[in-house]
């Protein structure tokens, strides 16, 4: 039905199973991505280090690790993962902290709109994939550049 990238994965991290289940139901119904749910940010982090995802949606208020700290660690281990903060406690100081410290992609407030969420997640996956592609192209260019430089050196050596 939809030709989007079915290999993309979205991780949802919230200590409230109520929220993870609701998000999973919606995302699986409307988007062709795999959805992983975690109630513990620590377990989520372990899983993401092993196997990076394209988008992570994290709650702000979690008992063992707050959402901003969690996303800061995600940024360290998986720089190409798009980071979304979901919060029922939208104070300005936290919003600014989130944007500045973790390079947040979107600050989403509870109760959220599914329409908006769908758009954000879809764009977030695309963004992550573009970053990954860009990184691969840059590596390829660098490697080609190294080969060329070597070739040039050998040519010069051969003619001198």
């Amino acid at each position: 039905m939809r030709a989007d990238n079915v290999h993309a994965t979205v991780a949802v991290v919230d200590d409230e199973p109520m929220v993870t289940t609701a998000l999973r139901a919606f995302l699986e119904l409307e988007l062709p991505y795999r959805v992983l749910c975690f109630e513990s940010p620590r377990l989520a982090l372990e899983a993401l280090i092993r196997d990076p995802v394209q988008v992570v949606i994290a709650d702000f208020m979690m008992p063992e690790l707050d959402g901003i700290e969690f996303l800061r660690r995600v940024r360290e281990c998986c720089p190409f993962t798009t980071r979304i903060l979901l919060t029922g406690y939208a104070d300005k100081a936290n919003a600014i902290r989130a944007i500045n410290e973790v390079g947040l992609y979107y600050f989403l407030e509870k109760p959220w709109s599914n329409e908006q969420l769908q758009l954000i997640v879809r764009n977030g996956v695309e963004r992550s994939e573009l970053f990954t592609q860009l990184d691969a192209r840059v590596s390829a260019l660098e490697s080609a550049n190294r080969d060329l430089a070597q070739l040039r050196r050998r040519l010069i050596e051969a003619f001198l």
């Binding site: 998000l23 699986e28 119904l29 409307e30 008992p63 029922g88 406690y89």
Partner: protein, 306 residues
């Protein structure tokens, strides 16, 4: 208060002026107390809004999922035929709906519990005398303050057999809310808050202990006076403990505090049993009640070990 220096022999005019000034100050204090009640009500409302946002977010999303699922199923059934590829879709949709329905039940139960815990506060403005189980009142205050709990803050309950207390329930709720909020603010990100309720002899003693930074001895006398706060401008007006001690005195009880810098603080609310006849609300504490000072820095009368 300019003419106060020479009080060796106050003339009647001056006395009258002082009386008027005193009345004016009392009125101003009453106004401030009322303002703080309103601002503490504002905090409470913000807390409730936050607590409701989680189940509300889930319900709102789920309602949307259900209508999308229904539309999808109707689309599949439009031609009266379900082929193999459509069957996989139907299974997926049914699975999503199943999850959603279970969550809706939890979300509704959560909202019901939040509203139930508000019972005592909704009656805060009324002056009905009721029989209150202080343990239930403490639990309800704790659940309302859940959003103010730091990530590594543990709560320990130590409840004994406690008789019902005849009181103005809504007002005692407010006392517990004030003391617990102070404790949450004292511990910040990590620590332990211990809530005790016991009935040692002819009284009910409620203790709220925290492992926060403690209160320096020189401040202990002043914390029950209005306008004293070390929390900074944004946190409060420094009237929570004044209001609390006034309410408790109105119930012929008293509030004590023990505190050690670096170890934490404990606030003890002593409520006498038996013929508790709370004074009329809105009037200042009755002067004929036991002359116990509101703040007794070395309270040793009750409560568990520190």
């Amino acid at each position: 208060m300019s003419g106060v220096a020479d009080v060796s022999r106050p003339d009647p005019d001056e006395l009258e002026a002082l009386r008027a000034e005193n009345a004016r100050l009392r009125a101003a204090q009453a106004e401030l107390v009322n303002a703080t009640r309103m601002s503490s009500m504002g905090l409470l409302v913000a807390g409730i809004a936050h607590e409701l946002n989680t189940p509300l977010g889930a319900l709102r999303s789920n309602r949307d999922v259900l209508s999308r699922a229904l539309a999808r199923l109707q689309e599949i059934l439009a031609d009266e035929v379900v082929d193999a590829s459509e069957l996989a879709d139907v299974r997926r949709i049914v699975a999503a709906v199943n999850g959603v329905v279970a969550v809706d039940e939890d979300a509704l139960a959560r909202i019901t519990a939040i509203v139930a815990s508000l019972g005592g506060y909704a009656e805060g403005g009324r002056s009905d005398v009721e029989l209150l189980d202080v343990r239930a009142a403490l639990d309800s205050a704790l659940s309302l303050l859940e959003h103010e709990r730091g990530p590594d803050v543990a709560i320990t309950r130590d409840y004994g057999a406690v008789p019902l207390v005849e009181c103005l329930g809504g007002q005692l709720h407010q006392v517990f809310l004030n003391l617990l909020r102070n404790a949450f603010q004292a511990v910040g990100q990590r620590g332990t808050i211990t809530v005790r309720a016991h009935a040692p002899a002819e009284e009910v003693v409620v203790t709220v202990e925290d492992t926060g930074p403690g209160i320096p001895p020189q401040y202990l006398e002043r914390i029950f006076q209005g306008g004293f706060t070390t929390k900074g401008a944004r946190v409060g007006m420094g009237l929570g403990l004044l209001i609390s001690s006034q309410i408790v005195e109105r119930h012929r009880g008293r509030i004590g505090v023990r505190s050690e810098v670096g170890r934490g603080s404990a606030f003890l609310v002593h409520l006498p049993l038996g013929a508790v006849r709370p004074g009329h609300p809105g009037r200042p504490a009755q002067t004929e009640t036991t002359p116990a000072p509101p703040a007794s820095p070395s309270d040793t009368s009750a409560g568990g070990p520190r």
